[in-house]
Subunit: 204 residues, 2 copies
Amino acid sequence: MKKNKEKGILIVISGFSGAGKGTVIRELIKDTRYAFSISATTRQPRVGEEEGVHYFFLTREKFTEMIGKNEFLEWAEFCNNYYGTPKKYVENQLLQGKDVILEIEVQGALQVKEIFPECVLIFITPPTLKELQHRLESRGTEEISVVQQRLCRAREELTYMQDYDYIVINDILEDTIEIIENIVVAEHCKMSRKGYIIEKLKGE
Amino acid sequence: MKKNKEKGILIVISGFSGAGKGTVIRELIKDTRYAFSISATTRQPRVGEEEGVHYFFLTREKFTEMIGKNEFLEWAEFCNNYYGTPKKYVENQLLQGKDVILEIEVQGALQVKEIFPECVLIFITPPTLKELQHRLESRGTEEISVVQQRLCRAREELTYMQDYDYIVINDILEDTIEIIENIVVAEHCKMSRKGYIIEKLKGE
């Protein structure tokens, strides 16, 4: 299929912890049509983390200055550190025609939708919460209390799901990736994004 | 990909005469996921036309009775004959989980959208009106005046295009078919159609 020269689409992906969205996104961004939105943070880089690859590492002063200038699509503070999505990076990628993938939790996603209504919100879920519990437990890396916390968080997130545009059940990884790619193709054909074609035809 | 057991989607396809929608639809309906919506008409069957395959052939009395009972998704009168889309046939196919393809001109399509807002309107267009003219002329079967009439009609239809959900540029047939299939997959993942999953997860 032809590569589009149009502006890209901001694709916001959320999902329960354990739904497999990390794997899905890693697969998707192997395709150079996509750009992965890089977050900014004030926390210290961990070993192996690179500036502009894993995060944009900023000082608190710089971060708060950017908040003041409204330069984030969304931001939040966790454990005394700021985390946010710089607008400029996303906009530059979109202007280059890249579809930008932003992985973010539900409240951040709805913030983004508010100031960027043309973005597409996709929620990835396992087929059942029982399956989610099974996946979390079988990782074997989490204590039972952590699994319980994550299931509890999943139940909270259910109340936000209805504000998403699409829901994708992550049962078989290849299917999930194909479905998300289908959604992106479809979104590129939306009249709200392709209205310029009518003008072009009218102009002939 | 798994066959869905959900209700199907009504996919309304329109496009300029000469845009190639007939070929696109013939290819699509080779897949048994789709059902083609069969129109009803009061005109006489032509040689080779079969009842329930090409049309449902009805008497004027039966047709007007069905209009009175609101049994059409849309209907119109051309050259002293009635043509319409029977609701019941479409609804039966949708309930069986088939995605129903309805090929119809723009005014009929917008009538359908009004009484069946969950349907999906797709407009198929060649890349340019010049290309449309070229396709119409190269058929060699139409007189120049007919080509001019069709181009004139295309210009009228442009004013209705903005009310469609999707616009698909039919440049390469295989791409067009793939794009429409992508749209159908995406539409099946719309939160407005998949809301029941949230209820299911909440119920766990």
